[in-house]
């Protein structure tokens, strides 16, 4: 490890590739996942083989989703299978190391971060093969009827500040970073079984070409390529026919005789429009090198639309950061047309040219600067999250909770989900992760409604005596689906539970009926949530100068982790494969660190020109057709790097007619035409896409009989734009409605001054008819 100072070079390249090819003992990674509703159970099998002349010890560092509850670890050596046990981290290492000392086989799985793990495969004899399988369960994030499964495959080089402290006597970089190589001799195979065929509307992967067997239940989704390069997250979006508004399950605690029961409650919080941001809004845009390319374009554009939707007078400011940071104004300013114009111009100039991802410094300023008013500061952060000092960042925002809340959006091929979600958790904000090939705008704009809301706080499960709830302290937002877990001593499940919470200052309750759960991992999911509550409850940990309290917290974590068999940062899974005397390894095993590919798109590496590459399976058509298709470059920015790839993907037959332009494009162009002061300004091009023209609108404006032609044109534009949103984007209503509230108000105020009529028809009726007409001439929207 040479990058002792960190901050600069985090990529290590251990020599030339040619000399290493034979020395990579990992031969393949295979993933099997079962998805039921929002729950997923995943088995990841990593197979190692020693093709060298002497014994080796293989060390492989890999990612998992940060919400995963790691519940099982087993080793298969020949015909024999050995099950792992959870033990305290250093004790587990001692067992591993002692076994190796005696020539036995041993396998160790350490957690470095909730989303970074290290597997050690010890004493692999020449010619020997070992398959290590880890099992995890996770409750997936749901947005309405859509559930998303994400499997990370590689760890991006993460930025560590120059003064990042060591962790347990080891430099942070050495606990985070694998060895990188341009090419590796292993790949990924994956199969996801999606259960409940009847309730599915669509299954698609924005990240990879996939094939989908639709006939049976479960629906099986597989990677189209037999061995896929592990350089980006695998993302699968499952759309159900309808969102489940609320459900709860109870399960007895199992055979270990603790006499405990467990409860899981899913609750979709009703969407209710907020009245505007409770305090000031700060936009914080990651302009580090890793954001280069289409990410920065889309991020800028999304923030631009967001800014236009800010209610008049709301204080706001814009920051951008890389290795350093800069701000538009020293302090927040009220949203006026002039201020918004300045901010838009500032954003237009923002390039991804600021070097490293030093997130701490701008957050420090945002957490310490005096607030403009009584409400909290809402920080809207767009980042790939490639920082390694997560605990330091969380401590900072946790200390400012109540004054500052962070709405974090993770972008890129392998964003650090632990940072993005952890920031939201620690500050009482919200998080969103966006896969490449997926539009940034809708997800950022979905956050708009949350930023405008005070949030739902103090969520508590009531109706069960002595319930130990996890997460204990959760802030959520209207429209989100929250999941709460509970543990209690006893076995009789309640018929129903009550979820209590506060929306703004107002107390609310929701009643949820409880069903019995069969073979459900609620116990482990509760344990994972309880572990996280304790891990993120404050204090970075890992310091030598920790006090008695911290030691107590460590002991409690270890106890929880061992009792429920779920790994945490203080524990590891360990397996010892006892060998007969003749099979024992003699001599020193050579250490082989398994190299991994750098994340695609990292600092412009292999910049994706084919961003829209995706595999789609839609259930509205009965048959699928496999075809070879050229992927059109949607964001062809770097011609010199542009490699236009051919990709095989499955898509519904018959092929839909080409959509020009992408209907979503129209939505964002339309929202981008909103004026910061309220009202829309449609130019001729945009008017034509709505089936009208600037001249037509001018004629209609003239018939209004308004004294000022400009104002009359604005009235007509606004009425048409609002009507077109209603007519064309009813499904996205939740996204755009809060954004255009100010234009509705503006139009209503103008109408209140006197009746407005076009050729004798009321303005609204004219616009609605015009919008329908425009829609009909342009063909129907997808979906």
């Amino acid at each position: 490890m040479t990058a002792g100072t960190a901050g600069l070079s985090v990529v290590r390249r251990d020599g030339e590739w040619a000399g290493q090819e034979a020395a990579v003992p990992l031969v393949g990674v295979s993933v099997q996942a079962d998805l039921v509703g929002r729950g997923v159970r995943v088995e990841v099998t990593q197979t190692f083989e020693n093709r060298e002349a002497g014994p080796v010890e293989a060390v492989y560092r890999f990612p998992l989703p940060e919400g995963a509850a790691l519940t099982g670890f087993r080793a298969r050596v020949g015909e024999r299978v050995f099950s792992g046990e959870v033990d305290e981290r250093d004790r587990a290492f001692d067992r591993y190391d002692r076994a190796l000392e005696q020539g036995h086989g041993a396998y160790l799985l350490d957690e470095e971060r909730p989303n970074v793990f290290t597997l050690s495969v010890g004493n692999l004899n020449p010619g020997a093969r070992a398959a290590l399988t880890l099992t995890y369960v996770e409750t997936l994030e749901a947005a309405g009827p859509e559930v998303r499964f994400t499997l990370p495959t590689t760890i991006s080089p993460r930025y560590l500040p120059a003064d990042a402290p060591d962790e347990d006597g080891v430099p942070a970089a050495d606990r985070l970073h694998p060895t990188y190589a341009d090419r590796v001799p292993y790949g990924l195979t994956l199969a996801v079984r999606v259960h409940g065929r009847e309730g599915l509307a669509a299954v698609e992967s924005p990240s990879h070409p996939v094939t989908c067997r639709l006939g049976a239940d479960p629906v099986v989704v597989e990677l189209a390529s037999p061995s896929t390069r592990m350089d980006r997250d695998f993302v699968l979006t499952v759309r159900h026919a309808a969102a489940a508004p609320r459900r709860a399950w109870a399960a007895a605690g199992g055979q270990d005789g603790h006499g405990e029961s467990f409860l899981q409650v899913d609750l979709a919080l009703p969407a209710e429009p907020g009245d505007g941001p409770p305090g000031e809004v700060a936009f914080l845009l990651d302009c580090s090198g890793s954001m280069q390319g289409s990410s920065i374009d889309q991020a800028r554009r999304a923030l631009g639309i967001f800014l236009r939707g800010l209610p008049a007078g709301a204080p706001f400011n814009v920051y951008r950061f890389g290795s350093g940071f800069e701000r538009l104004w020293p302090a927040a300013r009220s949203a006026t047309p002039e201020a918004a114009g300045q901010a838009l111009a500032y954003l237009a100039k923002a390039d991804a040219d600021l070097g490293g991802t030093e997130l701490l410094a701008p957050l420090q300023e945002l957490c310490s600067q005096p607030l403009a008013g009584p409400g909290p500061r809402s920080v809207v952060l767009l980042t790939d999250g490639q920082v390694g000092n997560e605990a330091q960042v969380f401590d900072l925002v946790r200390a400012a909770a109540g004054r500052v809340r962070v709405f974090a959006v993770g972008i890129g091929h392998g964003p650090n989900d632990h940072l993005v979600r952890g920031l939201a958790r620690a500050s009482g904000g919200a998080a969103a992760l966006i896969a490449p090939g997926e539009r940034i705008e809708p997800r950022v704009l979905a956050l708009f409604g949350k930023v405008m809301s005070p949030g739902v706080s103090g969520l508590r499960l009531q109706g069960v005596a002595g319930l130990d709830q996890a997460p204990a302290d959760l802030v959520a937002f209207p429209g989100e689906t929250v999941t709460l877990y509970g543990r209690w001593a006893g076995s009789a499940p309640p018929a129903s539970v009550t979820v209590a919470g506060r929306v703004g200052g107002e107390a609310r309750t929701w009643e949820v009926a409880v069903a019995a759960a069969e073979a459900s991992p609620i116990r482990e999911l509760w344990a994972r949530a309880a572990i996280r509550d304790r891990e993120e409850g404050g204090g970075a940990g890992g310091s030598r100068q920790e006090g008695r309290k911290a030691r107590g917290a460590r002991a409690a974590l270890v106890e929880l982790s061992k009792r429920y068999g779920v790994v945490c940062r203080e524990t590891s899974f360990v397996v010892v494969e006892e060998r007969e005397e003749a099979d024992r390894t003699t001599g020193q095993a050579v250490l082989r660190k398994v190299p991994v590919p750098v994340t695609r798109g990292w600092h412009g590496r292999d910049e994706d020109v084919a961003n829209s590459c995706s595999g789609v399976a839609s259930f509205s058509t009965p048959l699928e057709v496999r075809e070879e298709a050229a992927i059109a470059p949607r964001f062809f920015r770097r011609k010199e790097r542009g490699v236009l790839g051919w990709a095989a993907f499955a898509r519904p037959a018959p092929a839909p007619p080409p959509q020009h332009p992408d209907p979503d494009e129209l939505l964002y162009d339309l929202l981008g035409a909103q004026q910061p002061s309220g009202g829309f300004e449609l130019d001729d091009a945009l008017a034509r896409r709505l089936g009208a023209s600037a001249n037509g609108l001018r004629r209609a404006a003239a018939s209004l009989g308004h004294p000022a032609p400009r104002a009359a044109y604005a009235l007509i534009s606004t009425a048409l734009a609002l009507a077109a949103l209603e007519a064309r984007f009813p499904a996205e209503r939740a996204t755009w409605a809060p954004l255009v509230q100010k234009s509705r108000d503006w139009l209503a105020a103008q109408e209140a001054k006197g009746r407005l009529a076009v050729d004798g028809h009321p303005l609204a009726a004219w616009a609605a008819a015009r919008a329908q007409l425009g829609r009909a001439t342009r063909g129907k929207r997808r979906r």
């Binding site: 490890m1 100072t5 500040p161 430099p171 290795s323 350093g324 800069e326 490293g356 250490l591």
Partner: protein, 133 residues
Amino acid sequence: MDGTRYTIDELGARTGVSRRNIRYYVQEGLLEPPAGRGRGGFYYDSHVERLGRIRALQDQGLRLATIREVLAGAAPAPEPGEPAPAIREAWARLEVIPGLELHVRHDVELTMGGVVGELMRLARALATRGGSR
């Protein structure tokens, strides 16, 4: 070699350093490998002293990267109670255009982020204008 021989367990018990970290320090070249073959080798008083030194420097708040330099004699050991010295400076390399970079020391970048951003923009504007001529 003369003197007392220690197993890795005994070495850990004497120094308070975990087995995991002893293996790591050997692997990283901070600690001499044990005498004898493989993992079962023996350690001597020199190992105990070396590990004691590492622990003491860690307790002063030094990071391993710095300790490595102190042990190698490349950097002065801090007086007890003295704050850990900044032995290396971290510099960021910002690329204006391929072949032209701006180098900024980390702390300067943090305190003068705005100036750095402005410089980058100016430099880029100049560089691209020069290129097109």
